[in-house]
Symmetry: none
Subunit: 191 residues, 2 copies
């Protein structure tokens, strides 16, 4: 890469986005730059410049930060906004004939993770906030639970679908019955 090329890319969205992301996640955890510096083994100077969007971090630097923040490396490279909560109650199964029902469609540019979440009765689990723009889908395979964003959680039963923003604090909680839940996480990718 030539020097001019590098300059032209200096204000590159990738580096700036990563910087913003680092700052956001750090503050989310009530962590100071100094403390993050201690945990990562990086210098305060480096973090300061990165968060200012001025830097061009190496993959090792980003990895160290991701580890210290307990998030996947890729979460530092994703961005943007989040939708509202959608609750689709289970529909009655028809007695005869197979049914095919479209629950939800999300348009392009997403990465995808499928998780299985098993909760015994009377259990509460906090969800790890994901990258901004991440949408989380809960499909209740069996049981009951209360789940969703901290400020808008819903009671769910077998067959229900709940979609909500995965970048805000959220939690799953069972009461008298255990729950078996499939979680589909769709994250927008930076291209």
């Amino acid at each position: 890469m030539t020097a001019p090329d590098r300059e032209r890319r200096a204000a590159s969205s990738a580096a700036a986005a990563a910087g913003a992301q680092i700052q956001r996640r750090r503050r989310q955890r009530g962590m100071s730059q100094a403390e993050l510096a201690r945990r990562t083994g990086l210098s305060k100077a480096t973090l300061s410049q990165l968060e200012a969007g001025a830097g061009n971090p190496t993959i090792d630097t980003l990895d160290a930060i991701a580890v210290a923040l307990s998030i996947p490396l890729t979460d530092l490279l994703t961005r943007d906004a989040s939708p509202g909560t959608v609750h689709l109650p289970a529909t009655a199964a028809s007695d005869e004939g197979p049914t095919r029902e479209l629950l939800r469609r999300i348009s392009g540019g997403h990465s995808l993770e499928l998780w299985r979440l098993r909760l015994p009765a009377h259990t509460s689990v906090d969800g790890v906030p994901h990258a901004p723009g991440t949408v989380e889908h809960l499909l209740v395979a069996s049981g009951r639970l209360v789940a969703g964003p901290a400020d808008d959680s819903r009671p769910l039963k077998t067959g229900d679908l709940l979609a909500f923003a995965g970048d805000a604090p959220h939690a799953y909680r069972t009461e008298d019955v255990p729950a078996d839940v499939t979680v589909v996480i769709a994250s927008p990718a930076v291209g």
Copy 2:
């Protein structure tokens, strides 16, 4: 970061994984290192070392490569889900404590559809072949069925996950018990 720290991380999985990923995607496109160097504006030397897993690229370098390969930046940092058919049998639920299990990860650039498929007993349904590159995921919420590509279908029970290429002919078939299946269809974004 101190010098010893850096050395210790030299064989870091993050850098090595990125290197492997770069090589894989480049070859997939029948592109030589030299040509990728031209398109990215990077030197051949840099690419050679990165693919060898020896490097520690900056975010700008990775971004340039991602752009040249027309893939989201995050794809360079992600292990791709294996392309073939994958069958993940249900795991036993632990008696105590919640379990969180990553079933599958698919890198960016996908649109997403969630379907619910309900099959009465003794029913057979042909799946519509989707666009090339589409991956279909079956999550068995309850019951049993035999499903998958026409030439490689598998018996599935409650809790199983089956992933297979959705662009080939495939079918779902129940025997003595009905089945309730969540289908996640990931299609590569157009463009």
